[in-house]
């Protein structure tokens, strides 16, 4: 707990500054890529915030890095790799699909499949009983009724 307080102090002492920077982009596509990237990357020092939403100093520095790399013509994957190599998968709001995240990525769909199987089984179990077969007399009555009704309808 003591440690937690120490870290909190450390976060608070990080110089806080701009969250809104004016950046120039050669084309709107690059700007869109920039916006998308900083929304997908997590600010490490903040409480659960993306680089885009944070005004922490480190977030600003990392936005600068992303911006510089974009202008230098780096691909999105290269930029993401750059950050993952330094900070680990923690910076990614969209965790990579790997062995340890299979459950995370496929769990919901597996659950959906399981639910489907369950529905099918319940449906079979709860199917209404077929009505008992009609006696000859009943069948004759039914045919008559149907005939009358049919002629009525036509």
């Amino acid at each position: 707990m003591k440690w937690g307080i120490a870290l909190l102090a450390l976060i608070l002492t990080l110089p806080t500054s701009a969250g809104i920077e004016v950046r120039q982009f050669p084309n709107p596509e690059l700007e869109a890529r920039y916006q998308h990237l900083i929304e997908q990357l997590r600010c490490l020092v903040c409480q659960n915030q993306s680089l885009a939403d944070s005004n922490a100093d480190l977030a600003e520095d990392l936005r600068d890095e992303v911006y510089t790399m974009l202008l230098a013509g780096k691909r999105d994957a290269e930029i993401v790799d750059f950050l993952v190599q330094r900070y680990g998968d923690f910076v990614l709001y969209k965790p990579p699909v790997k062995k340890t995240t299979w459950l995370l990525w496929f769990g919901p769909f597996a659950a959906l499949g399981l639910g489907g199987i369950l529905l099918w089984r319940i449906g079979r179990k709860r199917r209404p009983e077929p009505p008992p077969p009609l006696s000859d007399a009943e069948r004759r009555r039914l045919e008559k009724l149907l005939q009358d009704h049919g002629s009525d309808d036509a």
Binding site: M1, G4, T16, S17, A18, G19, I20, E21, V22, R23, E39, Q40, R42, Q47, N48, Q49, S50, A52, D53, G88, D89, F90, V91, L92, Y93, K94, P95, T100, T101, L103, L104, W105, G107, P108, F109, A111, L112, G115, G116, L118, L119, I122, G123, R126, R127, P128, E129
Partner: protein, 654 residues
């Protein structure tokens, strides 16, 4: 003195909760009418003591009694009165007291509106609610006492977190807690029914209005919270999939499943064991949310100050309440008789599909929220699970829900003919597709397929929700076809609200535009057909903050449509800076301006947004809430009570 009185009232409330838990439950088990009769007065007395205690806390804030630690830490004499009152539930200790008070109020409500329920059943319900109260009150007294004194007394308080000095925040926690805690009522009904073995239609009929009211409050609370996050926290975002938000969303999904499942139990006597399980889950997820938010196991934007000791207490409490309930379920549920039969294409079957989808959705949110914790606990590394994950998993799981929600009510109980239904609704397929394309083309631009799919789904849902009314108007005797029970109106309204919500999500997510610009006084910037003219910044003096206030005139086609005054505030006591965005709201679009940093000269960096239809998101939430309340007001539920209380009144109401 006030604080001591509050503390004393709190201790009395705990004692009363023990009485309310012990005597009725023991009395019901041993058939002692005198003990059973304790339930109601004890419940009301507990609520009264809690009200006194909470009043004392609020009073300590009102009179700026900084000798109370909690007041000193979260208030200041310069804080306006309204926020001083709201500060009472602005941090951990006070908010748990509010939680306890609301539980007391729900309990008192059950003790008042229970005509027609057997004496013993009522006693059991109140006893179970009393047990929950005992846990919460012990938690407050032993780990989170808001009445603790502080020595030496500081001259002034530390002020309320500026993020919380806001109307939306002041009102949304009470609504949210009304929802969370309200889930305790159907939970107590379910446990009492398991105890007495009376899982019958009457039980479902009793649970449903309570569940609906709690659900409506939860819906309102989440809607208000999202609205608050939109203008106060975020850069125009309205949902961040933050653990705290997920903690409110999971019980909501489960309660929504419960409402639907209760219908089947009420109408057809089916799915009894399943409904009980859902009632347990809904309340369990409320408690789990409390643990996640207050224990510090997850990092969140707006978690409370954390303390592992409190976390451990809640965890033990959680284990006892939920563990005992699930054990009781495992012992009693196998004996529940449930012979209802239905065809694969029937109202029952579709409601079952609804339940499976909602439960899978809630499980997915739980999985995403807890997964970082799972990996960390197993030593497999640290990951983050954020909006991109939830977006890609949640959409496919919930899409069928939106497609089926409107159709469900058109399908008959027991058995229906898919071909008949198809003949009824097929013309709505081209209608909703065309409407989506037309709306996108007229007001926005034909965007990507995802947006069109969103809009088409929303129109489909809205149209199918309204279809029965259209048919009644046409087929039956004109306007008299509209004379339907309130429940039916409520359902239509809620489903229609869901459609409105979807339109808001689809349109605002895909057509919102933003720009960050550098503006000097007299400069203007164009965005989405609007011209934002910057008039400069002046100083503004608030009660407990100073601010730079910018003035922006917004023009469209040369005509002035709005004047926006965003602020950059500096709160003097806590010494932090807050961006206060200015918004021109509208059904068609919101104009949103946030002041950034002063640049060289008189220039400022400024962020501008145009967000079309974003308000529909919250409008949809409000419609859903209204639908829930309307359904709870259905005469059927009141008549059931009147029938049992006074059989003679049946003729009058029938």
């Amino acid at each position: 003195m006030t604080a001591e009185l509050g503390q004393l009232a709190l201790i009395f409330a705990l004692l009363m909760a023990v009485v309310q838990a012990f005597f009725p439950l023991a009395g019901a088990a041993l058939r002692l009418p005198a003990w059973v009769a304790v339930a109601r007065p004890a419940a009301r007395a507990q609520a009264l003591f809690l009200a006194v205690s909470f009043y004392c806390l609020v009073q300590s804030f009102v009179v700026n009694d900084f000798s109370v630690r909690y007041v000193a830490e979260h208030s200041n004499s310069a804080l306006p009165l309204f926020y001083r009152i709201a500060a009472a539930w602005g941090a951990h200790e006070g908010s748990v007291l509010l939680w306890a008070l609301i539980l007391g109020l729900w309990t008192a409500a059950v003790s008042l509106f229970n005509r027609g329920l057997s004496e013993i059943f009522t006693a059991r319900v109140l006893g179970i609610l009393g047990l929950v109260s005992v846990g919460i009150l012990a938690f407050i007294l032993f780990t989170s006492n808001p009445f603790e004194r502080l020595l030496p007394v500081p001259p002034d308080g530390n002020d309320l977190n500026p993020l919380l000095q806001d109307f939306g925040l002041a009102v949304h926690p009470p609504m949210l807690y009304m929802g969370y805690v309200g889930m305790a009522v159907p939970f107590a009904f379910a446990i009492a029914a398991l105890m007495s073995g009376t899982l019958d239609i009457a039980w479902a009929r009793w649970s449903r209005p309570w569940t609906l009211v709690a659900w409506s409050f939860l819906t309102l609370g989440i809607t208000l919270g999202s609205w608050w996050a939109y203008y106060e926290l975020g850069w125009g975002g309205w949902w961040f999939w933050d653990p705290v938000e997920n903690a409110s969303f999971m019980p909501w999904l489960m309660a929504t499943a419960l409402i639907h499942s209760l219908t089947v139990t009420e109408k057809r006597g089916a799915f009894k064991a399943w409904t009980v399980l859902l009632a347990i889950f809904a309340f369990s997820l409320s408690l789990l949310g409390m643990f996640l938010v207050r224990s510090g196991v997850l990092v969140s934007v707006h978690a409370f100050a954390n303390d592992p000791e409190r976390g451990l207490f809640i965890l033990v409490f959680l284990g006892l309440v939920i563990g005992a309930s699930l054990l009781l379920y495992a012992l009693r549920a196998p004996a529940v008789r449930d012979h209802a039969r239905f065809h694969w294409f029937s109202r029952e079957a579709l409601l079952l599909v609804n339940n499976v989808l909602l439960v899978v959705a809630a499980a997915s949110v739980l999985l995403g929220t807890l997964y970082p914790l799972v990996l960390d606990a197993l030593g497999l590394g640290k990951i983050s699970v954020g909006p991109p994950y939830f977006g890609s998993v949640f959409a496919p799981v919930t899409a069928p829900l939106f497609l089926l929600a409107g159709i469900g009510p058109l399908v008959a109980w027991r058995r229906d003919d898919p071909a008949r239904l198809w003949r009824q609704v097929r013309w709505l397929v081209p209608v909703s597709l065309t409407a989506a394309v037309v709306v996108a083309a007229l007001w926005f631009r034909i965007g990507d397929l995802v947006t069109l799919a969103f809009l088409a789904t929303a129109f489909w849902l809205g149209a199918t929700a309204l279809l029965p009314w259209w048919q009644r108007l046409r087929r039956r005797e004109g306007w008299r076809g509209l004379r339907q029970p309130a429940g039916f109106y409520g359902m239509t309204l809620a489903h229609f609200g869901l459609a409105v919500f979807l339109v808001g999500v689809g349109v605002s997510n895909h057509y919102s535009i933003e720009r960050t610009v550098r503006l000097a006084p007299g400069d203007s910037a164009e965005l989405g057909g609007y011209r934002f003219l910057f008039q400069g910044v002046r100083e503004f003096d608030g009660p407990n903050y100073g601010a730079d206030e910018g003035t922006f005139e917004v023009y469209r086609d040369g005509e002035r449509v709005a004047v926006l005054r965003p602020q950059k505030r500096f709160y003097r006591v806590q010494r932090n800076v807050m961006t206060e965005a200015a918004i021109d709201p509208g059904l068609r679009r919101d104009l949103y301006v946030a002041l950034g940093e002063p640049l060289e000269g008189d220039a400022w960096s400024v962020r501008l947004y145009v967000k079309p239809a974003v308000r529909w998101i919250w409008l949809g939430g409000l419609l859903m809430m209204a639908g829930g309340l309307l359904a709870a007001a259905d005469r059927r539920y009141r008549t059931a009570r009147a029938t049992a209380a006074a059989p003679a009144s049946v003729n009058a109401t029938a």
